[in-house]
Amino acid sequence: MTVLSVENLSVSYRIPGGKLRAVRDVSLGVHSGEVLGIMGESGCGKSTLAAAMIGLLPAGASVDDGTIRLNGADILRLPPEQQRRLRGQSIAMVFQDPMTAFNPVLTIGRQLSDFIGAHDASRHSRSEIVEMLKRVGIPDPERCLGRYPHELSGGMRQRVAIAAALLMKPDVLIADEPTTALDVTMEAQIIHLLRDLRAGFSGAIVIVTHHLGVIAELCDRVAVMYAGEVVEEASVDALFHDPRHPYSRALLSCDPAVVQPGAGHLPTIGGRVPDLSALPPGCAFAARCTFADPVCADPVPRHQAAGRLVLCHRSEA
């Protein structure tokens, strides 16, 4: 069952003298039990898409077009109070930086029970919280409840943040760069934790990352974003073994893990993401693409077949 679906979503930021089109005509869906990865380099609209999904776009950003359905309900058109009630309960989010995700003046226990209290003041929550902290691998969860955020390490805080997000058993969990702010060891631990949690979690997970390892380890399906567009969508196996879009290919060939030892240098994609307020006609990647030819300035066709989607003139899906 599709729990979260995004249809033809466009989001833009108002900037002096124009519009910055951060998300352009994106359609995606996740069903329960599935893990969807959203991949792409910085500034390609991943985080804006994630923020739109949970209804917390930053000031200055607005949805121009499209719908977001959570369990069938069009959340963009719900009154704010109902949107608020969905957050935490039906859809929850884990943020990038666990160091700043907690109020420094309140204990962990107080903040976690607050999250429950925001939805159901009558629920007796302590044992639930302890249980959840145990599940995310917090040693001695009872003591953790009385601690302040600064008394926990970054990895521990991210575990607590994940526990907080899972506390209300949401249908969709969005993790926006959940490991980016952590060091490598912690990152590996959090990836393992998320993989373990998948087993006991019935909802859908959306992971936004630029880390190919995270995608490969955790996801079922991947959407590759470039300049606000989903340029390729495929199962993880299909994408990693047979990337069709030149951008996906370029990204995968830049992964340090696949570069031959002794290669001397790390491959990069030349150029930079185009200015989102003044996009070229046709394919946005054409300027950096090794396969580009004049046809790329024409509107890009959508090749859709066998669970794959590719937006490219030069590649058949």
Binding site: L86, F95, V105, A161, A165, M168
Partner: protein
């Protein structure tokens, strides 16, 4: 840690300790406590009735019977000063407290509410604080007539914009914090965000500012009373005592001195306490010891 004040119980204990270990903060705390006790227990401490006349004993210099001497109507100056503390602190704490509460509420609304409301409130704060304090006070007193209530009203009106602006700035900074976004992502409503997350983080600086403002208010009260525009005689305001002492400066110079001392000490006490609190509470302060 980026927030200015930490309201956790453990942190509060360490604030207390840090304040006590700071000589200036300790001196401030001692002076303020002394004045508070004086104000609270005035009826029991004061050796005489502060308004009882004894014209035969007028202008007596300090002696064993009258430690601070007597004034032109033979009233005991020490008793008048002790009762004066009650007036000075009562008026300043009440008015600054009310102004602080108003500033807190309006500042939170301006900082966290809709933009248009913010613009209106900022306009109000700015126009209020553009008025020169003394002239504004004189205008209000002319309209409403002198008296304690007028005095409190004037002080509230002139001091709340500064508090509101402080709270507004703090709130604006905090509203962009990641944990506020995280709270929203967990479905926290506006009320919960304001009272549970913003309020504890903004009261610290307000407490400091209020503490630093109390001496200003005490001086304002004394100044207006000195001009016969504040507390009405025969109430023993320090300003009244000074004013009456000034009229008799040639005969009894000690009256002015005796009335000036508590004014100086109270001002110093609250300023020291405020400075001490700032050093302890504000991590950006030069005398940072904790944070």
């Amino acid at each position: 840690m980026s927030s200015v004040a930490d309201a956790s119980p453990a942190a509060r204990r360490s604030i207390g300790r840090a304040l006590l270990s700071d000589p200036m903060g300790l001196a401030g705390l001692a002076l303020v406590t002394a004045f508070l006790l004086m104000a609270l227990f005035a009826p029991w401490i004061a050796p005489y009735d502060p308004i009882a006349l004894d014209v035969r004993a007028k202008f007596q210099p300090p002696s064993a019977a009258h430690w601070a001497g007597t004034d032109h109507l033979g009233r005991d100056l020490l008793s008048r000063i002790i009762w004066g503390a009650r007036l000075a602190l009562g008026i300043s704490i009440t008015s600054v407290g009310i102004a602080g509460a108003i500033g807190l509420v309006l500042g939170l609304i301006a900082g966290y509410g809709p933009r248009w409301l913010d613009s209106i409130l900022v306009l109000i704060f700015d126009s209020m604080s553009s008025l020169p304090m003394i002239f504004f006070a004189l205008a209000v007193i002319t309209v409403l007539g002198p008296g304690t209530t007028t005095l409190i009203l004037v002080i509230v009106l002139v001091s709340f914009p500064a508090y509101a602006r402080l709270i507004r700035t703090q709130t604006l900074t905090l509203a962009g914090a990641d944990y506020i976004l995280a709270e929203k992502a967990m479905g926290a409503g506006t009320g919960r965000i304001i009272f549970r997350h913003l309020l504890p983080n903004v009261v610290g600086p307000l407490v400091i500012l209020i503490c630093m403002d109390i001496p200003v208010v005490i001086m304002l009260e004394a100044g207006l009373s000195y001009l016969n525009l504040g507390v009405k005689p025969p109430s023993p305001s320090w300003g009244n005592i000074l004013s009456e002492g000034y009229n008799a400066l040639r005969q009894a110079p000690y009256v002015v001195v005796v009335a000036g001392i508590p004014l100086v000490l109270a001002t110093l006490g609250f300023t020291f306490l405020g400075e001490g609190l700032r050093d302890v509470l504000d991590p950006r302060g030069a005398g940072r010891r904790w944070g």
